[in-house]
Symmetry: C2
């Protein structure tokens, strides 16, 4: 079960002026599931995206990058679950385009004004007819007050829907930000991770929005891992509809780090962090939510090496599942993380607030009961002070349980 995570209340996901959402049950892979989502954006909206670095990136990812580069004025997003349209070659691209053409026809747009997204099984042909057959129902369902249905429509092995909202004031105007995400396996940051959609009605220029997305993704989706596998389909999209009435936030605001820019950037980043953490809390088979914080590094890169060595270790993740303070496994991971000339006698390891290891071994005052008490919590902080600099980083992950194996051994059946 997800770790301290429930589906949001429908009313808690605030409408964003200029964004409408509609779903369909199109039977892409399984019947009686919301599996097609259409999002429309009012004319003049700005859209920015970051995508997987996987070189086997999916056909829709290739199209998204192409259409965004064309600056064609994105007006709609189309998401299907049940099939990733990845590892599908030239024919996969054709099928993704067909869905864009079909939706463009129904919405009176050009095909390159539609961003397509797919998630699900890799290496199988997209059942394009089913997706297209579902579009009229999704369009009939379009409304602003529909974010929870949208969050449900993009779920695959997710147990709960993921979404959150914020409101801030910019120059006396109320600005709303609402985001949804999906994902619980094949999760390792290498750019944006999984599907995430965050919309705001703020007025913000394209370049400012792109500045915000880079900042937000590095603080959120690029700091999570479930299993170290980088998906073929990861995409994060930021959308701004320009309807809140605030003075447009532009490149000058970015350069001067104006109060409005910082406020919007931080609120959108906050949404991104909550959505990213929700993916980990709903990680496949997760029973524990772990925050791995590395401090005292020479640079952020070496902190990330240590954080991911810990966050990826199956030995550590199974020990956390067992609530076993088998902390030697954490020392071993620090030792093989690849930090140049690490002084193992200088570093300190903490579990929650408990000092566990120093001087190259177990801390003199450490008692196993202290470690056990921390390990029983559903949320656990692992903190390492490398004691060689001022850099730090934080990564979130979950434990590794029987259910992880079960879910992934059964996923296609």
């Amino acid at each position: 079960m997800p770790v301290k995570l429930n589906s949001p209340e429908a009313a808690s996901l605030l409408p964003v002026k200029g964004v409408q959402l509609g779903f369909a049950e199109a039977h892409v892979r399984k019947p009686n599931r919301k599996d097609v989502l259409v999002m429309t954006l009012v004319e003049g909206s700005k859209v920015a995206g970051v995508f997987t670095l996987n070189q086997f990136c999916a056909a829709p990812v290739i199209l998204c990058k192409d259409f965004l580069a064309q600056k064609s004025g994105i007006r709609a997003l189309l998401v299907n679950t049940g099939n990733a349209n990845a590892g599908t070659g030239e024919e996969g691209l054709n099928r993704a385009k067909q869905t864009c053409v079909a939706l463009a026809g129904l919405l009176n747009l050009q095909a390159n004004q539609i961003l397509p997204f797919s998630t699900g099984v890799i290496l199988e042909p997209l059942p394009v007819d089913k997706v297209i057959a579902g579009l009229p129902a999704a369009i009939a369902n379009l409304k602003e007050d529909n974010w929870l249905n949208a969050a449900e429509a993009i779920m695959t092995t997710d147990i709960v829907a993921k979404g959150t909202s914020r409101q801030i004031q910019l120059g006396g105007k109320t600005v709303t930000i609402t985001g949804i995400s999906k994902g619980s396996g094949m999760i390792h940051p290498n750019m944006a991770t999984m599907l995430g959609y965050i919309a705001t009605d703020a007025a913000v220029s394209q370049s400012a929005l792109e500045s915000i997305i880079q900042y937000a993704v590095n603080k959120s989706f690029n700091c999570i891992t479930v299993d170290g596998d980088t998906s073929t389909n990861d995409s994060l999209i930021l959308m701004a509809t320009n309807l809140a009435g605030n003075t447009e936030i532009n490149e000058d605001d970015v350069k001067s780090a104006s109060a409005d820019f910082i406020a919007l950037r931080d609120a959108m980043t906050d949404v991104a962090i909550e959505l990213a953490q929700a993916i980990v809390r709903d990680g496949e088979g997760a029973t524990k939510f772990m925050t791995v914080k590395i401090e005292g590094g020479r640079d952020e890169a070496e902190c990330r090496k240590v954080a991911y060595a810990i966050a990826h270790s199956p030995l550590i993740k199974t020990a956390f599942f067992a609530s076993d303070p088998n902390l030697g496994r954490i020392l071993a991971a620090i030792g093989y993380a690849g930090v140049d000339k690490l002084d193992v006698n200088a570093l300190k390891l903490y579990l929650g607030d408990v000092l566990v290891a120093e001087n190259g071994g177990r801390a003199a005052a450490y008692l196993e009961e202290q470690g056990s008490a921390v390990m029983k919590e559903p949320e656990i902080l692992v903190r390492v002070d490398l004691a060689r600099g001022d850099a730090s980083c934080t990564v979130w992950t979950c434990d590794f349980s029987y259910d992880y194996v079960k879910i992934n051994a059964d996923y296609r059946s």
Copy 2:
């Protein structure tokens, strides 16, 4: 259960002239287990070792490196299971030294003529009194015809003992090679992996033996992974007792690649490969043995990146456990392995002899039944042709099962 691996017959492990082995049940961690092993070497034996690159390397690893560097004439090896003496700081070093001093006293040697090894739980103090109390029984048990007991005495979570022998002719003299190994979790190559001991009675110089160990480890223990965790204690030791009567193989043989050198090197490498593969076959919870062969790379380094991306992916390893030909997960791993400018349309993916993917997607002639048939086998070949060069590499790994989680969640209890 181990994949196509049984404990060797006692008689199949051939004595090596000049090597005696004796065990004790010293109750280091648990009662009624062979947990202390003493190996003695005849005077004049040559010894070479390679050790973990983990910076949190264990106290005995530090001592081994030190004593080998002193060229003190190694005459005995001392191994305990149940405790790794890693993450134990200065006191760990003291305790490891105490065991060497004690054994040296009993054997009338100097402490720096003893190589110590420990394997088991990290971060707990070595119960040095128990190890030392076990030494007289181990010494009383010393004999040449004792390799199976020795293989059993170094097991931890191993299900079966691991050992093998070869005999070759060098200049009309019969040369024997016998090796044993242990390990089934925290296994990822970054130098020698796990504990491995390979002895021969061949006459071979120190420099030639060191040349052989580097060659052998790169073809064997550095090509396996179970869980991607590099242990704190990994050690591989080659020993040569000089009693076979062959003309000594020396540095000139290495330089000229003489027939005798190649014969001995390849036979010892063959033993190392069998011992390394045995560790994977007995990988924690393993039900499948996977050979991952990458061909057509620009260099070996990029082939290894791809091989390990596949061999480490929990998504792929759980799919193999389920005998599910979910091959898209393999394409995804190839895509995120970090190969520069990979042409995903040029590469080919094979499962056994079956061409699964080409032109960026599923091969036209591929049928799911073909993949399913291969996946049901206990030994599976995954082959990728990167189609951009002549380099290749092979890595061995196992699948990821419920039992992996169970073993590692329970290991300390």
